[in-house]
């Protein structure tokens, strides 16, 4: 099957038949189970850990706590310096661990561990005028927190509004799990991670070991959405420490509840948008001021304002990021960090501007299309936003969009909304090895990660295409740090990075075969893309898209349902239509949750996220997902990378919440500026 074709997942049968082993399902002899004990204060110090009762439970092997846990070599990252200090930086932090013969015994004994604390007052609430707001040195991944270009000029039309988003938790289906096995001074971690090689390097540094003595295996990963990225999460470190201490393999599976404190989440935000424009909608000045939280345990500055630096052709652009350092769990990557919350604010403000100018929101965006990247001044490698908007508008029936608050069908108010989407397209250096196997088939190896995206399948197609052989003759090995180096699955860069190396290795092998005069078993070719990537030309590389949503708001209950969504994307070349569609649609579903149902609620008194399970944290269910469709332009981008792909994992969530919010405004005539938009906030604004 050719590149782009909707090939089924190559490991699909293994998954449905239960043969595919996830980290927590790996079996080794002599395994025992660890369970983390978590802090019950949000700020302070552990005074003592009394494990007498826990140790007395038959089957308990050991209890680890600060003071007697094995030492780590590097304790510079407090979040990963597990059990290395008595300090408690947030509620839910790991303060001890129980290791036992069975999981049930470990969980029972965990409740018997008595921890006493010296409790200090805590500050867990982000407010827009928090007295501790500061400017971080940089924002993720490595950008200036503030930018300012151009002179402000008096505007004919202006919008000055603030949007508020709550904390969101990633909630991949597979909770984080680790099996740690020491053999002499070698450590193998079966770990649910988005990057085996990065995880190995980080763990080796923490443990003070050379990277060669650590191996991380992650054959199958049940979703991550950033929560299994780098730096590692403390549970992986804890598993390694427990296994070293008891001298046996240790399995540690994080519970769903624990995921709300130790595996990351998206910061809440307050985002002030100021836009000044002429009456015909041309933006003169645009400002995006972001307020977010970070944990005292580790700084993470989500780059929510970056989209306003490059999205529209404004003469003057100003962005700032300010953080409050709180006694809260460590926030980190969640699907499209930066772009996702940032585009919610920008694209909602664009809708408000369109209304203020009396211009159709699709047309408004077209009018502000820049010729070059306003931020870097570089040309775009390709930018087909306008086509996405036009095609989407036509397919969606945009021209039938009503005036705000005017369309009523029975007991429902009906409205439509649009938003643009964007996501950067980059690639990281990678290595791959392609070789002819003994039976004449081909094996391609790279420490890539398939976190449920279908990466293994797409790489198989890329390899088969480059080798000029059917996919059935190619086997791709991934998910193991012992394989040639591959960067982690993140930033929508996975496929571009790994695919590039796989392409080069397979091209090289094909040449080798031609030179040799046949596919001789043992022939191989190794590729490394770092040189090529370093020498890439200066382009602004981004994917673009347009999101359309129709909502129905129940006038009695304030319930909002989304009968239709359409995403149109220009995201480079698509390697597998089936996988791409599910990435786009999956992102849009996550955006639906962000708009209407998801919210991690901080408990002020105790300092943790209260609704810490899937019965209380409401991700959309099937009944919420009605007519969601995603289509894309045929868009190979030769300036992106030799494959022409730009990455599709994240753009689906970008703009989705804004499109829904804008549709709710169109339906009700009221502007809701805080997510999620749900009956409690909608009720007062119904007719």
């Amino acid at each position: 099957m050719e590149l782009g074709a909707p090939l089924d997942r190559v490991e699909g049968w293994d998954k449905v038949a239960g043969r595919a082993r996830y980290s927590g399902e790996q079996r080794v002899a002599g395994v025992c189970h660890a369970v983390a004990v978590q802090a019950e204060i949000a700020h302070g110090e552990v005074l003592a850990v009394d494990a007498t009762a826990a140790r007395a439970v038959p089957g308990v092997i050991d209890v680890l706590a600060y003071g007697d846990a094995p030492a780590l070599a590097d304790t510079s990252d407090f979040e990963l310096a597990v059990l290395q200090s008595p300090r408690v930086a947030y509620r839910g932090q790991i303060v001890a661990a129980v290791v036992a013969e069975t999981l049930e015994i470990a969980r029972h004994a965990q409740r018997l561990v008595r921890v006493t604390y010296d409790e200090l007052g805590h500050d867990v609430e982000l407010t827009p005028d928090h007295p501790g707001l500061y400017r971080p040195e940089k924002i993720s991944p490595d950008d200036p927190p503030d930018t300012g270009e151009g002179e402000e000029t008096p505007a004919e039309v202006s919008v000055d509004v603030t949007y508020e988003t709550p904390a969101f938790h990633n909630n991949p289906m597979e909770p984080h799990a680790t099996l740690a096995v020491w053999e002499g001074d070698h450590l193998t971690l079966y770990d649910s991670t988005q990057g085996a090689a990065a995880q190995r390097d980080a763990l080796a540094a923490l443990l003070g070991m050379p990277a060669e003595r650590v191996r991380v295996v992650a054959h199958h990963v049940g979703g991550g959405f950033g929560s299994k990225g780098v730096p590692p999460r403390p549970n992986s470190v804890l598993a390694a420490l427990c296994a070293r201490r008891v001298g046996r393999p240790v399995k540690l599976a994080v519970t769903r509840q624990q995921m709300f404190s130790i595996t990351g989440y998206r910061t809440p935000t307050f985002q002030r948008m100021r836009i000044g424009a002429s009456k015909d909608g041309r933006i003169a000045d645009i400002e995006h001021h972001v307020i977010e939280q970070t944990s005292t345990a580790r700084e993470f500055a989500e780059q929510s304002g970056v989209v306003t630096r490059m999205m529209y052709a404004a003469r003057a652009r100003r962005t700032t990021h300010r953080l409050a350092r709180l006694d809260v769990p460590v926030n980190s990557w969640m699907r499209a960090p930066g772009e996702c919350p940032g585009m919610y604010a920008l694209e909602s403000a664009m809708d408000e501007l369109a209304e203020a100018c009396g211009i159709d929101p699709v047309e408004l965006r077209i009018r502000n299309e820049p010729e070059r990247d306003p931020d870097s001044g570089n040309p775009f490698s390709s930018r087909r936003l306008v086509e996405c908007l036009r095609l989407g508008a036509e397919r969606f029936g945009w021209s039938s969009r009503p005036e705000p608050g005017t369309r009523r069908e029975g007991r429902h108010l009906v409205g439509m909304g649009v938003a643009a989407a964007t996501y950067p397209a980059a690639a990281r250096p990678a290595q791959a090895l392609a070789r002819v196997a003994d039976d004449g088939s081909f094996t391609v190896s790279i420490a890539a990660a398939d976190i449920g995206t279908g990466a293994r399948t797409a790489l198989t197609q890329i390899a088969a295409d480059a080798l000029g052989v059917p996919v059935a003759r190619v086997r791709v090995e991934i998910g193991d740090s012992a394989l040639p180096y591959g960067p982690l699955a993140g930033g929508s860069m996975g496929n571009a990075s790994w695919g590039w190396a796989v392409l080069r290795a397979c091209e090289g092998l094909r040449d080798g075969i031609a030179r040799y005069g046949g596919a001789e078993p043992g022939l191989e070719c190794r590729a490394d893309t770092s040189g090529e990537i370093k020498n890439q030309e200066a382009y602004a590389r981004h994917s673009f898209g347009a999101q359309f949503a129709e909502v129905r708001v129940d006038v009695d209950s304030g319930e909002i349902r989304v009968p239709r969504m359409l995403g149109v994307f220009a995201a480079g070349r698509v390697m597998n239509a089936r996988l791409a569609r599910s990435q786009f649609v999956g992102g849009m579903v996550m955006g639906l949750g962000m708009a209407l149902t998801e919210e991690s609620r901080m408990d002020r008194e105790f300092g943790d996220y209260l609704n810490h399970d899937l019965a209380q944290y409401h991700v959309p269910v099937n009944a919420d997902v009605l007519g969601i469709d995603a289509i894309w332009l045929d868009d190979p981008d030769p300036h992106a990378n030799p494959l022409g792909g730009k990455g599709i994992g994240e753009i689906g969530i970008v703009g989705a919440a804004a499109a829904i919010g804008n549709a709710v405004h169109n339906a009700t005539g009221h502007r809701f500026r805080r997510l999620p938009i749900s009956p409690p906030s909608v009720i007062p604004h119904l007719p």
């Binding site: 009695d556 149902t597 408990d603 409401h618 906030s681």
Partner: protein
């Protein structure tokens, strides 16, 4: 999970006797609530007496048009029964609006009635909660209560009862059959579930060892026109923000009789008796429905973040009655 013993008695009497054997014995129905609470450390029984397989698992139509429902009947089976779907749509709708298909297939009628509150503090043993540990305090009053009670709560507890089915049964005035250490008795609904008062740790009027063996739903012909309306921000698999079970008997444009109960608003499924009284004999118009709803909701005492439930309940009551009133 704390270690526990497990028994599977053959009949109701044996179950009651088995439960007397251990100080913290609990009955196990489908386990969809109890097992979760055991994992969370909220419930710590030393003995589970499995009653899901007891022989009271049938639905019988009585000669007069009533229903006898066994306590071990599964939620899905009750929702699918023709006499429920045809004559009591609000009960079928309430059942089907709850949880997920998988949970309804496992959950029993008795277990559904006795499921515990979903208050987040109650489910987190690292925090105080008067219902879990009497006298430890109620953090929900100052904390997170956007989905807790507006009616009948106390300074000790503001939790809500989460069952949908129980709301419809309360509208019907179902009778609960109990087999206890002291013999058999019947408890009418409302009346099974208590308001929290100063003893929120006690959900119901049942005594230790009491086993629910079944229910009687007496005939209510006008309930063939009845509805259950449940409001929640996601379309399925969520507990109610507010729900309404209503049956209406209208003749010549006048309300002859009606039954209304509310869910998501109180520690017990809430029979709207004042509303019913205010509506009987009144014209079947939106104006009367709204006045009647106000008569009930005037009792409401919202907390800081759940006042939205009052207009929400009002609108949904009015709409549900209007749809039934034709």
């Amino acid at each position: 999970m704390r270690p526990f013993a497990y028994r599977r008695p053959a009949d109701a009497r044996a179950a009651v006797e088995a439960a007397l054997d251990a100080p913290r014995a609990m009955y196990l129905g489908g386990g969809t609530n109890l097992v979760d609470l055991m994992r969370l450390g909220v419930a710590e029984p030393d003995l589970l007496v499995d009653v899901a397989g007891l022989p009271y698992d049938t639905i019988r139509e009585t000669g007069d048009g009533g229903l006898e429902i066994g306590g071990a009947v599964r939620n899905s089976d009750l929702a699918a029964h023709p006499a429920v779907r045809r004559d009591r749509p609000m009960l079928a709708q309430a059942l089907l609006s709850a949880a997920s298909g998988q949970i309804r297939n496992a959950a029993t009628v008795a277990g559904n009635l006795l499921q515990r509150t979903r208050c987040a503090y109650f489910q987190d043993v690292s925090k105080p909660c008067n219902k879990r540990i009497p006298g430890s305090g109620c953090p929900a009053i100052e904390g997170d209560h956007y989905n807790l009670a507006i009616l009948g709560h106390s300074a000790h507890c503001v939790a809500t009862h989460p069952s949908d089915m129980a709301v419809a049964l309360t509208a019907f005035g179902a009778a609960v059959h109990v087999e206890g250490p002291g013999g058999r008795r019947e408890i009418g609904m409302p009346g099974l579930h208590r308001l929290p008062g100063d003893r929120p740790e006690v959900d119901t009027v049942l005594d230790p060892g009491d086993l629910i063996t079944g229910l009687t739903v007496r005939p209510l012909p006008f309930a063939a026109r009845s509805r259950y309306r449940k409001v929640r921000e996601r379309a399925s698999f969520a507990f109610a923000l507010v729900s309404v079970a209503a049956a209406l008997d209208v003749e010549d444009g006048t309300v002859r009789d009606c039954r209304v109960a509310l869910g998501g608003v109180a520690h017990a499924p809430w029979r709207a008796e004042r509303l019913e009284e205010a509506l009987r004999g009144r014209p079947a118009t939106e104006g009367s429905y709204a006045e009647a709803a106000d008569a009930e909701l005037d009792l409401a005492e919202p907390l800081r973040d759940n006042a939205y439930k009052i207009p929400l309940a009002r609108k949904v009551i009015v709409r549900t009655l209007a749809e039934l009133g034709g």
